[in-house]
Symmetry: C2
Subunit: 220 residues, 2 copies
C-alpha cells in the first residue's frame, strides 16, 4: 500500500488536508525491520517518532534481573516513541518488532515545524497522547486492582472489541508475550487458561479463543 494511504488511514493523521499529508509523506522515512529487531532502547535519546506501516511493535521495560513488562503493542497506523519529541528526555522504554515490520520515521524538527503551522495536527497529536494516558490508567488499574484471571478477561474482551468479533478472538501475540503484557508468567497464564476452560468460560484452540460466556468474563 502507498505511504500516503497508510498515513491517511491512521488515527493520528486521519482527516488532515491533502497538502499536509503530502508534507508528512515527504518528511518521513521508511525503515524495514526483521522480526524481533530492536527499534530503540530505554534511555536512548530520540530525535523523532515512529508509525507502524506494517507488522507489530512491542514497547517494554526490562528489570535489572531480566524480567520484561510489555507496556503496549502497536499495530498498523499507530504512532509510538513520541515522548522524546515533545519532552526532550530519552525514551522511557524500549521498542522492538514482534514481526517483520515497516516503520515510518518522523524526524523531530521537521515534524514540530509542521505542528507549528497546523494547529489541527497538534490537536490530533494531543488526542493520541490523551488516549495513551487513558490506556495507561486502565493498565495500572488492571495490574494493581485485579488479579491475573481478571486481567486476562479484560484483555480478551478488549480483543473482541478491537477485532470486531462476536465470540471468537485471535491472539495477536504468542502466549509468552501475553504473559509479559499481563504482568505474570507463562506458567501462571497457562494454568489460568486451563482453569477458565474447565469453568466453561472460554475454549482455547491454539491462538484462537472462543469466549463462551461474555457475561461472566465481564464480572471478573
Amino acid at each position: 500500500m502507498k505511504k500516503k494511504e497508510i498515513l491517511k488511514k491512521s488515527l493520528l493523521f486521519n482527516g488532515l488536508p491533502d497538502e499536509q499529508l503530502d508534507a508528512l509523506c515527504s518528511i518521513s522515512v521508511s525503515k524495514k525491520y526483521q522480526r524481533g529487531q530492536a527499534v530503540f532502547h530505554d534511555g536512548e535519546p530520540g530525535n523523532g517518532f515512529y508509525m507502524v506501516a506494517s507488522g507489530k511493535v512491542k514497547i517494554f521495560k526490562l528489570s535489572t534481573d531480566g524480567k520484561e513488562q510489555i507496556l503496549h503493542i502497536f499495530g498498523v497506523g499507530e504512532p509510538f516513541g513520541e515522548v522524546p519529541v515533545f519532552h526532550g528526555t530519552p525514551f522511557p522504554a524500549s521498542a522492538s518488532t514482534l514481526a517483520a515490520s515497516e516503520l515510518f520515521f518522523f524526524p523531530r524538527l521537521e515534524f514540530i515545524n509542521l505542528l507549528k503551522a497546523n494547529p489541527s495536527l497538534a490537536l490530533s497529536m494531543l488526542a493520541v497522547l490523551s488516549m495513551r494516558l487513558r490506556r495507561f490508567t486502565t493498565q495500572v488499574e488492571n495490574l494493581t486492582l485485579k488479579e491475573v484471571p481478571g486481567r486476562l478477561a479484560s484483555y480478551l474482551l478488549y480483543l473482541i472489541e478491537e477485532q470486531n468479533r462476536e465470540e471468537e478472538v485471535v491472539l495477536d501475540v504468542p502466549k509468552g508475550q501475553l504473559a509479559s503484557l499481563l504482568g505474570t508468567t507463562p506458567e501462571t497464564l497457562s494454568r489460568i487458561f486451563a482453569k477458565m476452560s474447565e469453568e466453561g468460560l472460554i475454549k482455547v484452540a491454539g491462538k484462537t479463543i472462543r469466549l463462551l460466556d461474555l457475561e461472566r468474563l465481564r464480572e471478573r
Copy 2:
C-alpha cells in the same frame, strides 16, 4: 498570590508571552475545595481541565470492592484532567483533594481556541502529556517489576529529588495514602518501614524520613 503569577510559574504556561497569560487568566475560573472533596469522578464527562493553585489533589481508581489505587498526586502549578479535553472521552479516573485547595478550571472550548491560535501553547501541552506518559511508564515498571520495598525506595529517592534535599524528606501524604500510591496496604508498608529502619537504610520520625544510605536504597 495572584492568579497570573501562579500560571506563569507553572511548567505548562511558563515562558508564554504576557498577552497569552492574560487570555488564560480570563478564560479560567477559580474554585475552592475543602480537604477530601471530590473534584470529578471516573467515567464522568469533562468539559475542561484543572490546575492546582494551592493544596494537593490525588487522581485514583477504585476497584469494585472498594480498593483504591492512586495514580498520581498533583501539587501547585500542575494541570490534571486533560484527557476528556483532547480525546473527548470521559474522565479515566477520579480526582479529589488531599488538602483544602484552590483549583483553576479551564473550559474546553475556550482553551482549544487559544491552542489553535498559539502553537507554542500546544507544544507545552504536548510536553506536559509526554512527561505524564513517562511517569506512567515508570509507575508500571515499579508496580510490576519491583517489589514493595523497591517501590518505597524509588518513591523516597523521587521525593529527595523533588524536594531538593540531601538526606531528609518529608512525606507529602499520610502513610495510608502512600500505601495506595505504592500499590500495597498500610500494614505491609508499615512493616517495610520498620524493616528498612532495622537495616539502617532510613530513620523514620513521623512524616520526616532521613535517608541513611542512598547507595543501598538505589539498588533496591
